[in-house]
Structures are given as structure tokens and as C-alpha cells.
């Protein structure tokens, strides 16, 4: 029974270690908070963009507009520039059971009018496809930010364990296993990262959520919804784990005797 008993370091040990160096811990907490907040902002941007481009619309509504390239701009400016007051898009709500393709056929018959018709759902689907590269780029930014956060965590933990090699060796000498010490170091990283995620989450919910963002097609609001919180907090916790493991392994690799002699 004693052989299989897994003796862990007390929870308070990790907390005390963080509080023992308040300025270093505070700086790392600040850095991680900013990283997680940036993740929230970018994911909120993606979620807001996705909502505004969601394949919506009515399948019984047909949009009829002029052929040729689209121009996205403010309507009054365009009307003034072209000296035209009439609008060039008509949205037709078909009667129940009516075939929207009849409108498409009409536009093709009247070649002189240079019109084209598209069902509203197909229009939004094409918009969503058009902005796919923007969404992919935004996710790439999220990955880059997360990567930066990992390095921040690594830097902090390397610094944290560098000055504690003798203490870690002492813990091993009194009977704590390497895995228990490893867990304690990871606990410190997770504690910082979780605190940072909570702080960033609060800021995101109260200041970022609902913020308007102007875009080429108009404007939409940043959405810090459940998915954004899941991604942001998940990345935050991951930063804590990934940032703590390599320095902890490095600190535990040398033998006890060697570590006790370390300066």
C-alpha cells in the first residue's frame, strides 16, 4: 500500500511560491492576461463576422440587381456621385410555392436590362465563401498569439525554477517524488494562466462583447459568446500547462546530489 501511495506537495506550496516573488508573478500574470484578451478579441471578431455572414435570408426572397462588379460604399455618396436617386436592387418576396427561378429566367430574357437575380440564401452563402480567407487569417492570428503566450509562460517558468533548483532537490531528498514536484510546478503555471483567463474573460465580457467593428460590407459587433470563452479560456489553460512542463522537466533532470550543490 505504501508503495502505491502517491504523496503530492500541498496546494499551498505552489501558491506560496507565486506570492514569494510578487513582481515577477504580477508581470507574468499581466502578460498572460493580455495574450488571452487578444485571443478573445480575435475570436470575438471571427464570431461576429460569422454571425453577420451566416447563411440566412429567406429562400423565397430573390434579389435582383445590375450585372457587373459590385461596389460597396455609402449609398448617399454613390447617389450623389452618379446623380441618381433611384435604387438598383429589388428584393422580391415570392408567393408560397412560387419558383424563384422564374425571376432568374425573366432576367435572362431581358438581356437589354442587364439584370441578374439570385435567391437570398444563395447570396449570403456566396458572401460567406468570399470572406472565408479573412476568417482563416483571423484563426491564424489566434494561433500566433497563442504561440506568443506559450513563450511568455516558458520564460516565466524557466526563471521561476532556475533559482529553486536546490529547493527542488531538497524536496526530493526528503522523499517527494519527481512527479509530485512536476505537478506542483505545473500547478503554479495553471494557477497563473487560469487567473489571467478569468481577468481577460471579465474584460472581454464587459468591454469587448458588443463592440462595433466597421468592415467593408458595413459593420458588425464583436461577439464574445460561449465558443469564444471556451477557446480563450482553453488556450489560457493550455499556456499554463505547456509553459510549465519544459522548465519543470529541465529542473528535475539532474540528480539530487548534483542539484544540492547548485548555486
Amino acid at each position: 500500500m505504501i508503495m502505491f501511495r502517491w504523496r503530492l506537495l500541498p496546494w499551498e506550496y505552489g501558491v506560496r511560491n507565486l506570492l514569494r516573488r510578487p513582481s515577477r508573478s504580477a508581470l507574468t500574470l499581466g502578460a498572460l492576461t493580455i495574450v488571452v484578451l487578444l485571443v478573445f478579441v480575435v475570436v470575438g471578431f471571427i464570431r461576429g463576422l460569422e454571425k453577420s455572414l451566416a447563411v440566412s435570408g429567406d429562400s423565397q426572397v430573390v434579389l435582383v440587381y445590375s450585372l457587373g462588379s459590385e461596389l460597396w460604399c455609402r449609398l448617399p455618396d454613390l447617389q450623389q456621385a452618379l446623380k441618381r436617386q433611384d435604387l438598383s436592387l429589388v428584393a422580391l418576396l415570392m408567393q408560397p410555392g412560387a419558383n424563384p427561378n422564374g425571376v432568374v429566367l425573366f432576367c435572362k430574357e431581358r438581356v437589354n436590362l442587364e439584370l441578374q437575380a439570385i435567391v437570398e440564401t444563395a447570396y449570403y452563402a456566396s458572401l460567406q465563401k468570399h470572406y472565408q480567407p479573412v476568417r482563416m487569417l483571423a484563426w491564424l492570428v489566434v494561433c500566433l498569439i497563442a504561440g506568443a503566450g506559450v513563450f511568455t509562460g516558458l520564460n516565466m517558468m524557466y526563471g521561476a525554477v532556475a533559482g529553486r533548483i536546490r529547493k527542488i532537490a531538497t524536496l526530493q531528498a526528503v522523499g517527494y517524488r519527481r512527479r509530485a514536484i512536476l505537478l506542483s510546478l505545473i500547478q503554479e503555471g495553471i494557477l497563473l494562466a487560469a487567473t489571467a483567463s478569468l481577468l481577460a474573460g471579465l474584460v472581454a465580457q464587459f468591454w469587448i462583447n458588443g463592440l462595433a467593428a466597421r468592415f467593408t460590407m458595413g459593420a458588425f459587433t464583436l461577439r464574445v459568446d460561449g465558443m469564444a470563452l471556451l477557446v480563450g479560456c482553453g488556450i489560457g489553460l493550455l499556456l499554463g500547462i505547456v509553459g510549465a512542463v519544459p522548465p519543470a522537466i529541465k529542473a528535475l533532470r539532474p540528480s539530487v546530489a548534483e542539484s544540492l550543490k547548485a548555486v
Binding site: L67, G68, N101, V104, K108, R110, V111, N112
Partner: protein
């Protein structure tokens, strides 16, 4: 040694999966008269109609409801076919589509974006109708097995409006081989 072999085997498995999954989709750069697959033979004309004229020449005539033979290339917009209805637009073969005579790699050459100013006077709408005169409720791509830029010759009744727009009501279509 065992560890190295296991790692190499795993790496080979991952690489083979990646290679197998990364298949590029076939390019849809040009349509062809070869078609998309099975078609309905009842709407296809095997013999080439004689005395076919281009769309531009046919548009200049005045008479309505006369029987005409017109030749053209399926195109004129990004979507020349009407979904769910056997109808499509054709363009006079004398108008070159994008990349026909040069190396321009246009993803949708059938929209004639390089000659849009000529489309108005060189386009016509082809409607495939049944015996009762109503358009067939099936996509022309499935009905005829054609794609964009296919060269077609049709014989049918011309309908012209006051603005000179031409619609041809046909019962069968001949797909010219190129």
C-alpha cells in the same frame, strides 16, 4: 532500435494519410461539349441542322414566331444556366470568350467578362419546351449533358420583344463537336 522503427512507421503512416487526403479537385476551367454524364436523348438532335446562323444575324431579323436555326456557345454570364428549368443563354460564336485566343487563365471564361459590351447584341435565351409549349422543369445541364462553353445549334421558334431581346423556344438541341 524498436523505438526508432516504431517512430519511423508512425511517420510513414502520417505522411501516407496526408498524401492520400490532399487530392486537388479537378479544374473547371473550360466547359466542353463532352458533357457531364447521362443526358435525356429525347431532347438531343443527332443530326446537325442546316443553315445555322449566328445569334447576331438572327437578332437582326424582325419576324416573330418564325422558325430559325441559330448557333451559339453556352455562356454570357457567370451562370448561363437557370437552375431547375431547361433554359440557358448562348453567345454568338464569333465573340471570343476569355482565354480563347490567348493564355489568360480566367476561372469563368464563359462569362465573357473581356467582351461584356458585345453581349447585349450577341446573346439569346434558349428555352427547351415540351409539347405543350411550357419549359421543361429540369436543369439543362442534366437534360442535355452539357457544360458552359459547349457549342450548340438549335432549331425553334423565335420570340422577340420591343427591345430586340431574342428568346428561342426549341424542342431539341444539337451539340456540336469541337
Amino acid at each position: 532500435m524498436t523505438k526508432v522503427m516504431n517512430s519511423s512507421g508512425l511517420l510513414l503512416l502520417v505522411l501516407s494519410l496526408l498524401t492520400g487526403c490532399s487530392r486537388s479537385e479537378p479544374s473547371a476551367h473550360r466547359g466542353s461539349a463532352g458533357g457531364t454524364g447521362a443526358s435525356d436523348a429525347a431532347y438531343l438532335l443527332t443530326e446537325k441542322p442546316a443553315e445555322a446562323q449566328g445569334v447576331a444575324a438572327v437578332r437582326k431579323a424582325d419576324a416573330n414566331a418564325e422558325e430559325i436555326v441559330v448557333e451559339g456557345r453556352i455562356g454570357g454570364s457567370e451562370k448561363p444556366f437557370v437552375d431547375g428549368i431547361a433554359a440557358f443563354t448562348i453567345v454568338d460564336p464569333s465573340i471570343p470568350y476569355c482565354g480563347q485566343h490567348d493564355d489568360e487563365k480566367c476561372p469563368t471564361p464563359w462569362d465573357y467578362c473581356c467582351n461584356t459590351d458585345k453581349l447585349k447584341d450577341n446573346s439569346a435565351l434558349i428555352k427547351i419546351v415540351g409539347a405543350d409549349g411550357t419549359p421543361v422543369s429540369k436543369d439543362a445541364r442534366e437534360l442535355l449533358g452539357v457544360k458552359e462553353l459547349a457549342r450548340v445549334i438549335v432549331r425553334g421558334k423565335a420570340q422577340r420583344d420591343e427591345q430586340g431581346n431574342l428568346t428561342v423556344l426549341v424542342e431539341k438541341v444539337h451539340i456540336a463537336k469541337e
